[in-house]
């Protein structure tokens, strides 16, 4: 099996926000790596730390109140944590680019879309205005927008078209790493499918390493090669698409799948995960998921689980798989 060089490798990333109400531990010791042409899905509920992880990768965490307390972010083999702001400006958009959640607000309302794509090109390439505009138009054509619409303003575009523009801007300088923060959440379901398809074709074609942040397992199944399930700032389960969808091991992952409607059995009741995300200023002791876990034992409240490798890349963070813990996940997998 041929495995490319990892474009991005993150080790033990910790991010905290110092607020009036205390120290919010948004990301707690995350590590993953991603290779050329592959797509990693970062899945989790609202507040799991997905967007914070993404912003940390771009070094865009608002500081204050945010702080990366430890960890390394290796981009193409060099740690970007030591880079200056100026060096980061040169990387952002060129090597690593980001697509934001809401296309309605991530375009500047007073410039034509063509000008905005051209601007993104001119930040990193030494082109004159006309050459940049011509390139912008060809990128627009690639994402399925007629070139003559380059002279129109964002408000003249529909939501799906705007998201195409945003994707065009992100891809303008053909970045090696692309972070897509819920790129289809704000769109209609029909448009979602179109945009997703175009998106994955384009990133495959240019061999981009992509991080797809989403809370929609349908999107994950559609475009991802690897999946990381996040809970309270930690990756609780990580594996290939197949590992996660067919052989999931973590009770939280099970809960996520159980809360999806089942097309084959429409009388089946949806099983929600009880409770809410924990207060990030006061995370539960032991396993952060134990207050909501139906298999939780006394030990789960005391001992924090570590990574347990199931096979190859597939790992899980749950005491149920630690041999010396003696926690049994009774009835796991039966709906």
């Amino acid at each position: 099996m041929e495995q490319g060089y990892p474009e991005l490798r993150i080790e033990d990333l910790n991010v905290v926000y110092d607020t009036e109400y205390g120290c919010v531990r948004a990301v707690n010791g995350i590590d993953f790596s991603i290779r050329k042409g592959r797509t990693l899905g970062l899945v989790g509920e609202t507040g799991a730390g997905k967007t914070t992880t993404a912003l940390a990768l771009m070094r865009l965490i608002p500081d204050p109140p945010g702080r990366v307390t430890s960890g390394s972010i290796e981009l193409l083999g060099t740690d970007i944590m030591s880079y200056s702001e100026r060096e980061m400006d040169a990387i952002r958009g060129k090597v690593v680019s980001m697509i934001f959640q809401d296309p309605m607000t991530s375009l500047n309302p007073v410039f034509t879309v063509g000008a905005q794509i051209a601007e993104a090109i001119r930040i990193h390439k030494n082109l004159d205005a006309k050459a940049a505009m011509d390139e912008a138009i060809s990128i627009m054509e690639r994402v399925g927008i007629p070139g003559e619409r380059a002279k129109e303003y964002p408000h003249q575009f529909s939501g799906g078209m705007k998201q195409r523009v945003v994707i065009a801007i992100a891809l303008a300088c053909t970045p090696q790493v692309l972070i897509a923060d819920e790129p289809t959440t704000a769109l209609d379901v029909t448009i979602q499918a179109q945009v997703l398809m175009m998106f994955s074709e384009l990133s495959k074609a240019s061999n981009t390493a992509t991080i797809m942040i989403t809370h929609d397992l349908g999107v994950v199944a559609e475009v991802c090669d690897e999946v990381a399930i996040m809970y309270a700032g930690e990756i609780v389960e990580y594996g290939s698409l197949e590992d996660i969808f067919d052989h999931y091991r973590h009770p939280y992952t099970e809960g996520l799948f159980a809360s999806l409607p089942n097309l084959n059995d429409r009388n089946a009741r949806l099983v929600p995960i009880k409770g809410l995300m924990p207060d990030p200023t006061a995370l539960p002791s032991g396993c952060h998921f134990h207050p909501r876990c139906k298999y939780a034992t006394k030990l789960c409240a005391e001992r924090a689980p570590v990574k347990t490798v199931i096979e190859q890349e597939h790992y899980v963070r749950c005491l149920g798989y630690e041999e010396d813990a003696g926690v049994a996940l009774e009835g796991f997998g039966n709906k």
Binding site: M88, V110, E141, K151, I169
Partner: protein, 306 residues
């Protein structure tokens, strides 16, 4: 089906050639102009400004400054308006029309230079203060508050009194008195826009601070700045007339409108046209700038399109 063919194009990179002429028909300027000219007031204002500008630029082709505007001619003193002297003559026998025409040059010069310099400094202060924020912002804004706490007329009076009454000090005084207004307005605009997602998106594209302030934020704040500039422009014309009226600005015999009104007030009852004509000139100029400013605000706002 259509989608997948587009994707195929995307993948194979065989996008059709783009006809560059199709989208160039409607330029941004053309678009603003199209919406601007729908306002009747704007056109009236623009005509008045064009007229004033014409007077200002070509005054010395119409009249000879030394013989007609400055030099007394006591034989024709205090004549009523006639075919020869359209606006009559003043107590020194000088043609009032010629003086009003030359007055346009001074008023526009003072208004433009003082507004422009106040705008540039105000925008710079507001931009960096708002964008950098924190302690820097607090300190800068407290200084601005101090200036705002003083009545701007009083501030300008103090500056002119300290430096002496002449045109350059008048311009300096008007600019300094108006910088805080531009700074406040622009800072508020920057604060409203700097946390928008498209600013974050542009940071994610690698844009640095100056690019973000001047290429992303500034164009979003143009309409309030244009409106403010037109109001300040009108105000500057009034203030320069006021100061000259009080003897603190332009000194006679220079044909400044305020200065002319001051000189003519002794003849208010016997020869009212001496005050009316320069007074009307001041009024029309101020009105014109306000009309144009309002129309420009509407025309440049892309959210009010169509």
């Amino acid at each position: 089906m259509k989608m997948s063919s587009l994707v195929m194009q995307a993948v194979t990179g065989s996008a059709p050639a783009v006809d560059l002429h199709v989208y160039k028909k409607r330029t941004q300027f053309g678009e603003v102009w199209r919406r601007f000219r729908r306002s009747k007031g704007a056109i009236v204002g623009l005509i008045i400004i064009a007229l004033m500008l014409f007077c200002a630029l070509f005054a010395n082709f119409l009249f000879d400054y030394n013989t007609e505007v400055i030099e007394p001619n006591y034989d024709e003193a205090l004549e009523t308006p006639s075919a020869k002297h359209w606006f009559g003559t003043d107590e020194f026998g000088r043609d009032v029309f010629a003086r009003v025409v030359f007055g346009a040059r001074l008023s526009l010069y003072i208004g433009l230079t003082s507004t422009t310099s106040a705008l540039i400094f105000g925008v710079l202060i507001g931009a960096f203060s708002g964008y950098i924020g924190g302690r820097f912002d607090s300190i800068v804004m407290r200084v601005v508050d101090v200036f705002l706490a003083l009545p701007s007329i009083l501030l300008a009076l103090t500056i002119v009194a300290a430096l002496g009454p002449n045109i350059n000090n008048l311009i300096l005084a008007i600019s300094i008195a108006n910088i805080p207004y531009f700074a406040r307005i622009f800072r508020a605009e920057v604060l409203a826009i700097k946390d928008k997602e498209f600013i974050e998106a542009s940071r994610a594209l690698g844009a640095n601070r100056n690019t973000i302030i001047f290429r992303e934020i500034l164009p979003n704040c143009l309409s309030p700045i244009i409106v403010q500039a037109s109001i300040i422009m009108a105000l500057a014309v009034i203030v320069s007339a006021e100061f000259s009226f009080l003897g603190l600005g332009v000194q006679p015999p220079t044909p400044e409108w305020g200065c002319m009104v001051a000189g003519a007030r002794k003849f208010l009852l016997s020869s009212p046209y001496l005050t009316i004509f320069p007074g009307v000139a001041i009024m029309l100029t101020v009105l014109a700038f306000n009309l144009v400013g309002d129309a420009l605000r509407d025309a440049t706002d892309p959210r009010l399109k169509h």
